[in-house]
C-alpha cells in the first residue's frame, strides 16, 4: 500500500495555500490601486463622489464589519461546542455578506442615477472595477461560508472554521482599504 505522506486535510497545507492565495489577491488589488493613483495623477483630478454615495459606502462597510464580528461569535461558539449557536451566527455572517452585496448593487444604481455611470470617467470606472472585483471575491467568500455551514455537522476540529474566517476577515479588510483609497 502506498503511503500518502500528508493528506490535503492537513491543516498547514491549507493555511499555506490560503496565504499564497491571499498574497495573489493583494497583488491583484495592489495593481488596481496603483492604476487608480496613476490615472488620478495623470488627470490631476479628484474623484468627487456625492455625499449620499459616501454615506452608502460607509453603511456597506459597517455591514461587512458586523459580519466579521458575527463570524468571531460563531467561531467562539464552535470552540465552546455550542453547535446551534455556532450555526446561527454563521448564518448571520452569510446574511451580512449578502446584504453587503445588495448594498453595493444599490450604491452602483444610485451612482448611475446621479450621472456617474460606467464609462463616465476614468476614476469612477476604477471605482466600479475595484468594487466589482471585490464583490466577486465576496461571492467566493459567501460560497465558502455556505460550504462551512453545510459541512459543519461533520467537523471534528476547528481549523476549517479558522481558514474560512481568515479569508472572510481578509476580504473585509480589503474592502476597507479599497474604500479608503477611493475616498482619499
Amino acid at each position: 500500500m502506498p503511503v500518502f505522506i500528508l493528506q490535503n486535510k492537513d491543516k498547514d497545507l491549507s493555511i499555506i495555500g490560503l496565504v499564497i492565495t491571499m498574497a495573489s489577491i493583494v497583488m491583484l488589488f495592489g495593481t488596481l490601486i496603483s492604476s487608480f493613483y496613476v490615472l488620478k495623477i495623470r488627470m490631476m483630478g479628484q474623484l468627487t463622489l456625492p455625499n449620499i454615495i459616501i454615506q452608502l459606502g460607509i453603511a456597506n462597510t459597517v455591514i461587512l464589519l458586523i459580519s466579521s464580528i458575527t463570524f468571531i461569535f460563531s467561531e467562539n461558539m464552535f470552540r465552546k461546542n455550542k453547535l446551534n449557536n455556532y450555526s446561527f451566527w454563521l448564518l448571520m455572517t452569510i446574511f451580512g455578506g449578502i446584504f453587503f452585496l445588495i448594498g453595493q448593487m444599490y450604491l452602483w444604481n444610485k451612482m448611475t442615477q446621479l450621472g456617474i455611470g460606467i464609462t463616465k470617467g476614468q476614476l469612477s470606472d476604477m471605482f466600479y472595477l475595484m468594487s466589482g472585483a471585490h464583490g466577486l471575491h465576496i461571492i467566493a467568500g459567501i460560497v465558502a461560508l455556505i460550504w462551512l455551514q453545510s459541512t459543519s455537522k461533520k467537523l471534528t476540529t476547528n481549523h476549517r472554521v479558522n481558514l474560512v474566517g481568515i479569508f472572510w476577515h481578509f476580504l473585509g479588510f480589503l474592502w476597507f482599504v479599497l474604500f479608503a483609497v477611493i475616498l482619499f
Partner: protein, 568 residues
C-alpha cells in the same frame, strides 16, 4: 487508495495523479510547440521570400491572396507565435509537465498538496487553449497586436478590428488562473511535503528552480490579470483606462500604464520561464559529469537573488517611452546587477564539468547547449539593458535574436534535456540516443545560425515587425542573409520532426529502460516503472544531498542515492 479499479475517465482524463497531469501538460505543450513552430516558419517565409506564394500550403490556406501571406495575416502570425510559444508551449512543457512530474517525486511526496486543484489547473488551461484557438474561426482573424498587445493597438478604438484581440485577452486571463492554481500547489508542496531529512539545501536544483518560478507566478500573474481585466473592459464595455489623446472621449487614460503593468509581470515572466531550466541543467550537468554540482549552495542562493532582482527591472523594456533619465538609469543599474548572480551560477556550471568524466548522452548535450545559448543570450542582454545602446537597438531584430537566445533556444534546449532525461520515468523507455544526437546537432547548428544572424540584421537596422523588408532600400544588402536565416529556420523545423518521431517510436518500443538508467541519485529513480499512484511504498528518509557522485569513500559505484546510507 490504489487498490480500487479506476475507469478510463478518472485514470487518463480527469486524473488527480500528478504524473498523469504532467503527461497531459506535456502533450498540450508539444502540440502548441509544433503549432507555434509552424507559425515561425511561415513568418520566416515572408521575411526570406517576401510576398511570394507559400509553397505546398499557400494556395490552400489563402486562396484569395494567391497563396501569399498578406500583411494582416502576417501580424496575426507573429502575435500568435509569441503568445503560443510563451504561454501555451513553454509554460505547459516546463512548468506544467516537469513541474508536476518532478516536484513530488524529487522531494519524496506522494502527490501534490492539492490534487484536485491540480486537475482544475490543467482543465482551465485546456479551456484557455480552446478559447485562444477559437479566434481562428473569426472572419476578422486572431489577435494581431503583438504578444505584448499594447493599447491603443489592442483596443477597438484605435487598433485591431474584430473580436480576435478580445478573445486573446480572455484566453490569457484563463491561462493566468491556471498558472496561479499551479503555483499555489507547487509552493505548498515544496514548503510542506518534503520527505524527512529533505532540507531546503538538500533539494535538487530543479526543484529550487521550479519553486522560485512558482513564487514569481503567484506574485506577478495577478498583476497582469488586473491589467488584462482593464484591457478587456476597454475592449468590451467602453472604458478608456488605456486610451489617451484623440482616441479618448473624456478624461484621458494612460497607454503607458498598460506597458508598466505588462512589464511588471513581463520581466519576471522571462525568469518564470528560464528558472526551471537553470535548475534542471544544474542537476543534469552534475549527473553526467559524475561530479557534485560545483557550488550547490551558491547556485541556489544566486537563483534566489536573480528572482528578487527580477522584480525591480521592468523599466528596461521602456527606455524609449520617454521616462525620466534618473529612473531609466536606476532600471539600467538594477538590470546590469543581475549579471553578477547569473555569472556565479554560470561559472558553477563550468566548474561542475571541469575535470568531470563527462558522458555525452542526449540530455547532457542539450544541457551543454543551454550553457552556450544562454551565455550568448545573457551577454547580448547587457547591450539591451544599457540605455545608450538600447535606444538604437530597441525594437530591432537584435532584440528578437537576443530573447530567442535566452528564451527560445535556452528554454527549448532545457525542455529537450528534461524530456530526454525523464522520459524513462514517464514512459518506461529510453529515447533513442542516435536520433537524439542527430536532433541535438541539427538543432544546435540551425538555431545558432538563425538567432545569431537575427542579431546581425538588427544591428544593421532591421526593425522587428516590418512585413516586407524588400520595400526598404537600406535593407537591400541584407536580402541574402534574410533568405539564409529562413532556410536554416526550415532546417530547424525539420530536425524537430526527428524528435517527434523519436518520441512516438520510443514510447511504443518493446525494450524497457532499466529503473535508473542514468545512475542518478535523486528520489524519482528509486521506484519501479510504472510509478504507482502515491509514488513511494513508504516515506523515504533523506540522508544525502542531491549530487553525491564519485565519492572517494564508496568503492563499488560512483553514486549514492539521497535516501541511502553509506555502506562501506
Amino acid at each position: 487508495m490504489s487498490g480500487h479499479q479506476k475507469s478510463f475517465w478518472t485514470k487518463y482524463i480527469f486524473s488527480t495523479d500528478h504524473k498523469m497531469i504532467a503527461k497531459q501538460f506535456l502533450w498540450l505543450g508539444m502540440f502548441f510547440l509544433f503549432f507555434g513552430g509552424a507559425l515561425a516558419m511561415l513568418i520566416r517565409w515572408q521575411l526570406g521570400y517576401p510576398e511570394q506564394p507559400v509553397p505546398l500550403i499557400g494556395n490552400w490556406m489563402w486562396p484569395g491572396d494567391g497563396g501569399i501571406i498578406n500583411p494582416d495575416i502576417y501580424n496575426q502570425m507573429f502575435t500568435m507565435h509569441g503568445t503560443i510559444m510563451i504561454f501555451w508551449a513553454i509554460t505547459p512543457l516546463l512548468i506544467g509537465a516537469f513541474g508536476n512530474f518532478i516536484i513530488p517525486l524529487q522531494i519524496g511526496a506522494g502527490d501534490m498538496a492539492f490534487p484536485k486543484l491540480n486537475l482544475f489547473s490543467f482543465w482551465t488551461m485546456f479551456l484557455a487553449s480552446l478559447i485562444l484557438l477559437s479566434s481562428y474561426l473569426l472572419p476578422t482573424g486572431t489577435a494581431a497586436g503583438g504578444w505584448t498587445s499594447y493599447p491603443p493597438l489592442s483596443s477597438p478604438a484605435g487598433g485591431i478590428p474584430g473580436l480576435g484581440q478580445t478573445i486573446w485577452t480572455v484566453a490569457l486571463i484563463f491561462m493566468g488562473v491556471s498558472s496561479m492554481m499551479g503555483a499555489i500547489n507547487y509552493i505548498t508542496t515544496v514548503v510542506r511535503m518534503r520527505a524527512p531529512g529533505m532540507d531546503y539545501f538538500k533539494m535538487p536544483l530543479s526543484v529550487w528552480g521550479l519553486f522560485l518560478t512558482s513564487i514569481l507566478n503567484a506574485v506577478f500573474v495577478p498583476v497582469i490579470a488586473a491589467g488584462l481585466v482593464m484591457l478587456l473592459l476597454d475592449q468590451t464595455i467602453g472604458t478608456e483606462f488605456f486610451l489617451a489623446g484623440r482616441l479618448a472621449s473624456g478624461d484621458p487614460g494612460d497607454p503607458l500604464l498598460f506597458q508598466h503593468v505588462f512589464w511588471i509581470f513581463g520581466h519576471p515572466e522571462v525568469y518564470i520561464l528560464i528558472l526551471p531550466v537553470w535548475g534542471i541543467i544544474s542537476d543534469l550537468l552534475s549527473v553526467f559529469s559524475r561530479k557534485p554540482a560545483f557550488g550547490y549552495r551558491v547556485t541556489a542562493i544566486a537563483m534566489c537573488t536573480v528572482t528578487a532582482l527580477s522584480t525591480l527591472v521592468w523599466g528596461h523594456h521602456m527606455y524609449t517611452t520617454g521616462m525620466s533619465p534618473l529612473l531609466g538609469k536606476s532600471f539600467m543599474f538594477l538590470t546590469l546587477l543581475i549579471s553578477i548572480p547569473s555569472a556565479m551560477f554560470f561559472l558553477n556550471w563550468l566548474g561542475t564539468m571541469w575535470k568531470g568524466s563527462i558522458h555525452f548522452t542526449s540530455p547532457m548535450l542539450f544541457s551543454i547547449g543551454v550553457i552556450w545559448v544562454f551565455g550568448l543570450g545573457g551577454l547580448t542582454g547587457l547591450y539591451n539593458a544599457t540605455i545608450t545602446a538600447d535606444i538604437y537597438l530597441h525594437d530591432t531584430m537584435f532584440v528578437v535574436g537576443h530573447f530567442h537566445y535566452t528564451l527560445a533556444a535556452s528554454v527549448m534546449f532545457g525542455s529537450f534535456a528534461a524530456i530526454y532525461f525523464w522520459f524513462p520515468r514517464m514512459f518506461g523507455r529510453k529515447l533513442d540516443s542516435r536520433l537524439g544526437k542527430i536532433h541535438f546537432w541539427g538543432t544546435f547548428i540551425s538555431i545558432n545560425f538563425v538567432f545569431f544572424n537575427m542579431m546581425v540584421l538588427g544591428y544593421a537596422g532591421h526593425h522587428r515587425r516590418i512585413y516586407n523588408p524588400s520595400e526598404y532600400s537600406f535593407l537591400e544588402p541584407l536580402t541574402g542573409l534574410n533568405e539564409w536565416i529562413s532556410i536554416f529556420s526550415f532546417l530547424l523545423g525539420v530536425f524537430q520532426v526527428v524528435f517527434l518521431i523519436n518520441m512516438v517510436w520510443s514510447m511504443f518500443k518493446k525494450e524497457r529502460s532499466p529503473q535508473n538508467p542514468w545512475k542518478a541519485t535523486t528520489l524519482e529513480w528509486t521506484m519501479d516503472y510504472p510509478i504507482p499512484h502515491g509514488n513511494f511504498e513508504e516515506t523515504p528518509l533523506v540522508h544525502n544531498g542531491p549530487h553525491e557522485y564519485s565519492r572517494p569513500d564508496i568503492k563499488d559505484r560512483d553514486w549514492l542515492g539521497q535516501n541511502e546510507r553509506i555502506t562501506v
